[in-house]
Amino acid sequence: MTPCPSSEQLSAFLDDEVSESRAGELREHLRICPSCAAELEQLMAVSQKVSESPAPHLSQISLHRLHVRVDEAMDQGLLRFVRVFNVVAACVLIAGSAWLMMRTHEARTVESTTPAAPPWVDVAEVSDTPTGAYSTPAAAWYLADDRGDESP
């Protein structure tokens, strides 16, 4: 006769959780060992008692409550998304505004620090480089006449 298996092995055998070869050995042993057979019978009785105990039933009201709670959680998820979206949008807006303000400030600073051209530069440009109405032939003749030139 093979040595008696441990109670743990009998429990696994009961659950069909031992290899086929080991199950064969155990079946053979159980056939000739009343002590192990009694042990297995006790384990089977416990297992049967537990698995056949009446199952608690979830009432229709409880099931309804469960669905309502799930719906609330779904809505909260949506609200959370909207909130996150709002926060992101606000951040983008603030960052954009700050960037624009900085750009405006920089432009003003450059404007104020650039030295202004002396007043005669403009005068010289106007007199030396006639533009607009003065660039027409009539204007050229007039200016030439005014300066005392003989030809434009």
Partner: protein, 177 residues
């Protein structure tokens, strides 16, 4: 929908729920609520708290829809969430109990084991033993599946289950042949 294969149905419902179909998620709730409720009552020990844990389980499942990768069945996935929620509930209750002084809870009267029913006997087990026992006896899960749900080695499941049955045998001895 294919009704011959519940797992395929579950995965289809889960896929639709992940795409924002709330009806599909409610259908999933209907399919698994009773089974998970039984587990919750066994793990928690009372109906009111079991209902709360069940609600948290489905809320957790909904927020984790995208994380389901299909490595385990939907049934195993939901069961795992329930077991984790039950463990969290136990921890929070433990904190409350510690604050409210443990010794204020009256001890069970002597001889109460004699009239103990199966649920009460299960409640007497340690959480680790209770988990493996209910997953095996109620859910008929294999040792591998239980190991996956509890995130423990298969050998641990075998050992815990054997010891849980040993304790149950003692607690229910008056009912056994």
């Amino acid at each position: 929908m294919v009704h011959n294969n519940p797992e395929a149905d579950d995965i289809e419902l889960l896929r639709r729920a992940g795409g924002g179909d709330s009806t599909a998620f409610h259908a999933l709730v209907d399919r698994h609520a009773q089974r998970l409720y039984r587990l919750a009552v066994s793990l928690i020990g009372n109906a009111a708290d079991a209902e709360d844990v069940l609600q948290e389980t489905f809320i957790g499942a909904h927020s984790g829809l995208k994380s389901f990768q299909g490595r385990a069945s939907v049934k195993t996935w939901l069961t795992r969430i329930l077991v984790l929620q039950a463990a969290q509930w136990r921890r929070s209750r433990q904190r409350k109990k510690t604050r409210a002084m443990d010794d204020a809870i009256p001890a069970a009267p002597a001889g109460s084991e004699a009239v103990m029913d199966v649920q009460a006997a299960i409640a007497k087990l340690s959480p680790e033993f209770r988990e493996v026992l209910v997953l095996r006896e109620f859910e008929k899960m294999s040792y591998e599946e239980i190991a996956g749900v509890l995130d423990v080695p298969r050998g641990t499941v075998e050992s815990r289950l054997h010891r849980a049955r040993g304790e149950m045998r003692e607690l229910l001895k008056v009912y056994l042949p």
